[in-house]
């Protein structure tokens, strides 16, 4: 081992395998952060380059100094506070019991809308009980739809300012934006939202008028309140924030809730049903197929069989006796997905125009898997998961030309986010159809092209 170690030290140029790796793959030296000036606004520009690491510790003072400088830098970076300038401070209020209309204490403010308010007031107790009962029953229909917000929402913002609310939250008709637990926690964590404890959660005597106790929720309290709320766990949250930080937009998929049935793919399967054209051509085609298919009885005689073979294609077709999986074939009944292997997030690229009220079809679908609790999925689990995603056949000029791209793209795909204690690996699983790529058909014209200019046709006409 020693020799290779030495070699590794003396030949840093050998390091090419490391260069194109992701920076976030390994712990970075926080000293690199010192090059950034934090407090100035808008200095979120370029990231520092990867630092040089040593091979192993040695008892030199030099190394000890660098290490302590690194640790100091890390300490400083982590100790940086989450500040809210009064000019653009966004305040959210924690509602532990889920969405509810404004309380009576707040109602006098909105005298104009009193008739409406009075209508909904009697429903409030009903609402809250429904929320409590449905906390695990899932689909955001029960209590939430009356107000137009998901039942798992637990923070509301009365002054939604800033770009984040373009993709985050749901507004009710009192002009408050309700946030789901992961949205609230993400915004708080990045220092964009100041969440307050409601007065009802504290032991304070409530002589104040508002629901806001004025006590800002700490990061620690926010994790305690929001993780474990409405199906959110650390694995899902790691994936959510990790992709959010990179600029993707994420929304919950129906599979988030354990008992939801996902009917994502019914529509496009129907259209693949009748592909064979009707009419005489169709009948003739089917007849010819029957003719060529029927006499092949591989057990009894030769594989290719007797008869007239006019092209190699016929022979190849007869040789292909191994059944293959056709992802475009319609399924009679869809198998149910089992909980860890189901689509939990719909992900949109930053370039995809996204509207909160009418989200477009997702760019990616992600299932979140805990590496410590789950083994490799079985074929049944995996194909049920793939069947729950819509058919997305490879298309485009490049795809049509390059075989390997087509195979890689597949007909359905899903991304597995495997989370091991905060470390996330993303795997893309696609349903490629090798059987649909007939190589004998592809390679037909190629030799002809290579043979040079086509021979002139019969002369003398």
């Amino acid at each position: 081992m020693a020799d290779t170690d030495e070699a590794a030290i003396h030949m840093p140029s050998n390091d090419s395998a490391h260069i194109d790796t992701d920076l976030s793959d390994e712990t970075q030296d926080f000293r690199m952060l010192n090059h950034l000036t934090f407090l100035t606004d808008g200095s979120q520009g370029n990231l520092p380059k990867r630092g040089e690491k040593d091979f192993e510790p040695n008892p030199t003072l030099f190394q000890a100094d660098i290490l302590s400088a690194s640790r100091q830098a890390m300490h400083n970076a982590l100790a940086y506070p989450r500040l809210h300038h009064p000019r653009n401070q966004v305040i959210g209020i924690y509602a532990p019991d889920g969405p509810a209309p404004p309380s009576v204490a707040q109602a006098p403010k909105q005298m104009d809308t009193v008739p409406e308010d009075n209508d909904t007031q009697p429903q409030q107790p009903e609402d809250t009980t429904a929320t409590a009962g449905d906390a695990d029953a899932g689909p955001p229909k029960a209590a939430g739809t009356e107000m137009g917000v998901p039942a798992e929402s637990c923070v509301y913002v009365t002054n939604p300012k800033g770009q984040y609310f373009k993709t985050i939250g749901r507004a009710d008709r009192w002009n408050r934006v309700w946030l789901l637990p992961e949205e609230a926690l993400y915004l708080l964590e990045r220092g964009s939202l100041d969440i307050r404890w409601p007065i009802s959660s504290t032991g304070c005597s409530g002589e104040s008028e508002t629901a806001d106790s004025g006590i800002p929720m700490s990061l620690q309290a926010a994790y305690a309140c929001f993780l474990g709320h409405g199906g959110l766990n650390m694995e899902r949250f790691s994936v959510y924030t990790g992709l959010r930080r990179l600029g993707y937009t994420l929304v919950r998929a129906p599979g988030w809730y354990d008992d939801a049935d996902e009917g994502d793919c019914s529509a496009e399967d129907a259209q693949t049903q009748s592909r064979q054209g009707p009419g005489l051509a169709g009948v003739f085609g089917r007849f010819m197929q029957w003719l060529s298919d029927s006499p092949s009885c591989p057990v009894a005689g030769p594989l290719v069989g007797l008869g007239i073979h006019r092209s190699y294609d016929d022979i190849y077709r007869k040789l292909s006796i191994i059944p293959w999986h056709d992802p475009t074939a319609p399924r009679s009944e869809s198998r149910p997905t089992s909980p860890p292997f189901r689509v939990v997030f719909h992900v949109y690229k930053p370039s995809t125009p996204f509207r909160k009220s009418a989200p477009p079809p997702a760019d990616f679908r992600i299932a979140v898997v805990n590496a410590r609790e789950t083994a490799v999925p079985t074929l049944a689990q995996m194909s049920a998961l793939l069947e729950s995603t819509p058919l997305d056949p490879p298309k485009g000029v490049k795809m049509d030309r390059v075989l390997s791209l087509r195979l890689r793209q597949g007909y359905r795909s899903v991304i597995l986010a495997v989370v091991d204690q905060g470390v996330v690996s993303y795997l893309r699983v696609a349903d490629s159809a090798f059987g649909k790529e007939k190589l004998y058909k592809l390679q037909g014209p190629k030799p002809n092209q290579k043979r040079g200019p086509p021979r002139p046709r019969a002369k003398g006409r």
């Binding site: 712990t27 190394q63 940086y80 506070p81 009064p86 032991g203 990061l219 990179l246």
Partner: protein, 322 residues
């Protein structure tokens, strides 16, 4: 940075995960106990990237258990601590806490305002110097003006000041607080407003010492724990190894400064290994210039609780490429 947090350090248990929120605890555990965990939060100063992450620190169940067994930390049921703590919060506490935050917020605001002013002054000075230099050049070709002081000096100093304000324990803050605010006078009108602050921990709001009813028993750990504890006792820093397709990555020193040496996979003492696994592991390790290490504890001696660390044996496998 060298602050010693009060022992035992409370480890928050929420929704099946173990977290540490106090920056002092994080640096202390890293420095003294070689426990690194995984930073999983967003850094508020540069929130749109995944290279440098911030608090909270997520601990593996193995790390949490090791710390509890050493008596350095205890597991706390954070959800109940928070809800009960807030329920028990009295009006007087609320007022006191809000005033404290207000004071901190004003201080930060003043620091930022004064720094802005300082920067402005420096910028003005530079312009003047330039003008003077040009004038001097016009007069006669004289030596150039003295080298300009880098503007970053002041910013980093102030950053550290802000950081120091939030980082240290509260005693330190109180020492630091008055003389800083006396040395910097509020200069602009904005400084009268306080900056809103989201604290990282709830320590100054809730009782620091978790009550006995909120403490949880030892964390449940996977069967690889004996190997984990053994390698840790040998001075290795361990982190989750999924990125490299193994259970743990073993670093010879702090991962901030050193590359990892081993891909660690734990096996049972009597578990039959497929030779292919060893070859694949060796191949994988060599590909990233690390050794493939398998190990396990002798299960014949006794049960998991009373096993000695010496019962663990380890083997390192390397691709010889003959």
């Amino acid at each position: 940075m060298n602050a010693e947090p009060n022992l035992p350090i409370p480890i928050s248990y929420t929704a099946g995960s173990y977290f540490i929120f106090s920056i002092d605890a994080v640096t202390y555990l890293r420095r003294e106990h070689h426990i690194c965990g995984v930073l999983s939060g967003t850094l508020p100063q540069i929130p749109q990237q995944n290279v440098f992450l911030g608090l909270p620190l997520e601990l593996m169940a193995e790390e949490a258990r090791l710390l509890v067994e050493k008596g350095v930390a205890c597991i706390v049921d954070e959800v109940n601590v928070q809800t009960d703590g807030m329920k028990a919060l009295m009006e007087a506490d609320r007022q006191r806490y809000l005033q404290e935050l207000q004071a901190q917020g004003t201080q930060v605001m003043q620091m930022q305002a004064s720094r802005k002013e300082q920067q402005r002054e420096e910028a003005l000075k530079k312009i003047e110097e330039k003008k003077a230099a040009q004038a001097a050049k016009k007069k006669a070709s004289q030596p150039p003006p003295p080298p300009e002081t880098p503007a970053t000096d002041s910013t980093t100093k102030d950053d550290e000041a802000v950081v120091g304000l939030f980082a240290g324990d509260r005693k330190q803050q109180q020492q630091q607080g008055p003389d800083q605010s006396s040395s910097r006078r509020p200069s602009t009108a904005i400084a009268s407003h306080a900056m809103g602050i989201t604290p990282a921990t709830s320590h100054s709001l809730l009782p620091l010492e978790p009550s006995a009813q909120h403490k949880l028993p030892l964390p449940a750990v996977p069967s690889s724990y004996p190997l984990f504890a053994h390698l840790h006792s040998e001075g290795y820093f361990l982190s989750p190894g999924l990125r490299f397709g193994c259970q743990y990555l073993a670093y010879p020193g702090d991962p901030l400064r050193f590359h990892s040496h081993f891909l660690v996979v734990s096996t049972g003492w009597h578990e039959e290994l497929d030779l292919m696994e060893i070859i694949a592991g060796g191949r994988l390790g060599t590909g990233v210039k690390k050794g493939f290490l398998i190990g396990g504890a002798d299960e014949t001696t006794s049960d998991l609780e009373s096993r000695e660390a010496d019962d663990v044996r380890t083997f390192s496998i390397e691709w010889a490429g003959m």
